[in-house]
Amino acid sequence: MNESLLFLIPLLPLTAAVLNMLFGMRLPRLVTETVAVSGVAAAFLLTLLFWGYADGEGTRATLGSWLAAAGVEVSFALHFDALAAAMTLMVTGVATLIHLYAVGYMHDEDDYARFFGLLNLFVFAMLTIVLADNLLLLFLGWEGVGLCSYGLIGFWYRQTENARAGTKAFLVTRVGDVFLAAALLWLFALTGTLEIAAINAQAAGLAPAVLTALTLLLLLGACGKSAQLPLMTWLADAMAGPTPVSALIHAATMVTAGVYLLCRLFPLVSLSPDGMAAIAVVGALTALYAATCALAQREIKRVLAYSTMSQVGYMFLAVGAGSVAGALFHLFTHAFFKAALFMAAGCVIHLAGGENNILRMGGLARRGPRELLWVFVAGALCLAGAPLTGGFFSKDAILLAAYTEGSPLFLALWGVALLTALLTAAYTFRLVYLVFAGTPRGAVDPHPLPWLMRWPLWPLVLCGLGGGLLNLPPLFGGGEWLTRRLGGLAGRAISATHDLEWALGALATGLVVLGWGLARWRYGRFRAGRDHRLGRWLLRGWGADALVEALLVRPFTAISRFCAIGCDRALVAATVDGIARQTSACGERLRLLTTGRVSTYLAAFLWGFLIMLGWFLLALVR
C-alpha cells in the first residue's frame, strides 16, 4: 500500500463535512446522517488498517507543497507514529460512537446538516492536529477545532446566551492561540524549519532561557485549548452546546489537544526544568481549582465540565512530571469514561424533561431505565478512580510520576493531586446521589430512550472500565503496553518499588472511599443545603469571570469608550464638523449678497467701475 493513503484518514471526515455542508439540507435526513457517521467510521477503520505503519519511527507521507517561498518550506505532510496512531485511533473511535449517539440525540433538530457538517469538520481538524508533521499544519487544525467549537457551542444561536458562550470560548482560546503562534514563529526564526521532528532534534542546541520562554509560550497556547488555569473560564460556559458536542469536543478530544501538543514537543519541552515545573504547577492547580468548583455546581453538565478541566489538569501534571505515557494513558481512559458520562448525562437530561439542575432531579435509579444507572455509575467510578477501573490506573500512574520526580515542588504538587483525588471522588458521588438516589424532586418523564442513544454508551463504558489494560503496570501483571508502544516518545521511565506502588494504590483507594463516604453522608438522603457564601463563590468558579471582567473587560470597555467618545467624537468629529460648520456659515452670509435684483447688480457695476476708474486716475496722477 502507498503511504499517501494515510491522507484518507483526515480527508474522509472532511469530505463528509463538505458534502453535508453543501448538500445536507437537500439530501434525505438518513443520507446526511449516514454520510456523517460513515466518514468518521471509515477513518476509524482505516486507522486500524494502517496500524502497522506506526511501528518504529512511524511513517511520513507528503501530499504536496503548501508554502514554498523565501526559505519557508511547508508541505501537507503527515507523520503517523506511535503517539499519533494511538491518538488517531482514540479520536476516530470515540468520534464514531458520539456521531452515532448524536444521530439519536439530534433526532428532533431541524438544522441537522449544519450540526453534522460542523461535527465532521471538527473531526477533520482534530485529526490534522494529531497527524500533522509540521507545526503550521498543526496550527491549521488548531484553529479549525476552535472554529468548530465556536460554531457548535453556539449551535442554538437563537438564544443569546448560547451565542455569547460560543464567542467567549472563541475569544479566550484565541488568547492562547496567539501565544502558540508566537512560539511557532520564534521556533521558525531559531531553527529555520517548522517540522516537528527537526525542531525536536535541534532543541538541544538552544539556550536554556530561550527554551524556558518557548516552553512557557507553548504552555499558554495549550492552556487556551485545554482550559487550564489562566484561560479556563470558557469551558464551563461551553456546556451551552448540544450534549454530543460537549462529549466529543469539550471532554474527549479538543480539550486534550493542549496535552497532545506538549507531548508532541516533549523533547523540546523536557529540556527546560523551569518550564516543566510550570506545566506541572498549572496542571495541579487547575486540577484542584476545578475540583473545588465542581463540588458546588448545580447543573449536571457543568459538574462534568469542571471535572474535565480537573482531569486535564492531571494530564498536564503528568507531562510536567515527565511522563508522556502517563498523560496519554489518562487522556485515553478519560476520553472514554468522560464521553460516556456526558452521553449518559444527555440521557438523564432527556429523561428529566430538559431539566439541567441536579438539585431538582433525583430518584432516577427507580424511575429511569436500569441500564442508564449502570452506565452512569460505571463512568462515575472511573472518574472517581475506584480501584481496578481505567481511571484508577491512569490516575495512579500520574500520582506515581509526580511522587517519584523527587523534588520538593513535585511532592507538594503530589499532595495537591491527592487532595484533588479526594475531591474528585466526593463531587462524583455527589452527582450520582443527587441524580439517582432518593425520590424525584422534579418532573421525571420515563420513556424509552432511542436505541442510538443507549448502545454507543456501552463500548465507551467498557473501554473506560477496562482502560487499565492499555497500560497495566507490572504490579498487576500487566506489561505497560502503551509505554512500550510509545517507545522513545514515552518520556521519563517511572521506576518505583512494588511497596511504594502498593502504598500509593492503597492511599488512592482510601481517598476514593473517603470521598464516597463524604458524599454519602451529605447527599445519601437529599437535604436542601443553605445558600452559603462559600458555595456561591465556588459556584461562580472562584469568581474567575468577575475577575476577568474587572481586570480585562471593563478596562477594555473603558478604553474603547474613551477612544470612541473622547478621541473620535470630541477630537476628530469636532474638528472636522467645526470646519464644515464655519464654512457653511460663511457661505450663508455671502449668500445674502446675491439678491437677484437687477438694480443691486447695476449699482455693484457702477461701484466697481468707479473704483477701477479711481485706481487708474490714481496711477495716472502718480
Partner: protein, 101 residues
C-alpha cells in the same frame, strides 16, 4: 468743426451720467432700458466727436455698428418686456428676483 471737441465730450459725459442715473434710479424695466439706450447714445456721440476731431472714419463705422446692435437689443429686450409683463403682470424690476441666493 465749429463745436469744440471738449464740448462734445462734455455733452457725451453728461448724457451718459443721465442715462446711468435713469438706469440706476428707476425701477421700471422700460425706464431702465431707456437709460441703457441713453448711455449707448452718449457713447455714440463721443465716438462721432472723436471721428470728426481726428478725421478718421473708424468712429463713424463704430456708430453704424452701434446703431445696428442697439436696434437688435431693443427688439429683443422689448419682446422680453412684453413677455414678462404678460407672465408676471408687472414691470417692477425688483420683483424679478428669482436668482436670489
Amino acid at each position: 468743426m465749429i463745436v469744440p471737441f471738449a464740448h462734445v465730450l462734455l455733452f457725451a459725459a453728461l448724457l451718459f451720467v443721465m442715462g446711468l442715473g435713469c438706469a440706476l434710479a428707476r425701477r421700471n424695466l422700460i425706464m431702465i432700458l431707456i437709460g441703457v439706450e441713453i448711455m449707448l447714445n452718449a457713447a455714440a456721440v463721443a465716438l462721432v466727436g472723436g471721428s470728426a476731431h481726428w478725421r478718421q472714419v473708424d468712429g463713424q463705422v463704430f456708430v453704424v455698428f452701434l446703431m445696428a446692435m442697439t436696434s437688435a437689443e431693443v427688439a429683443i429686450s422689448l419682446a422680453m418686456v412684453v413677455y414678462l409683463r404678460r407672465r408676471r403682470g408687472t414691470l417692477e424690476a425688483d420683483k424679478f428676483d428669482g436668482m436670489h441666493g
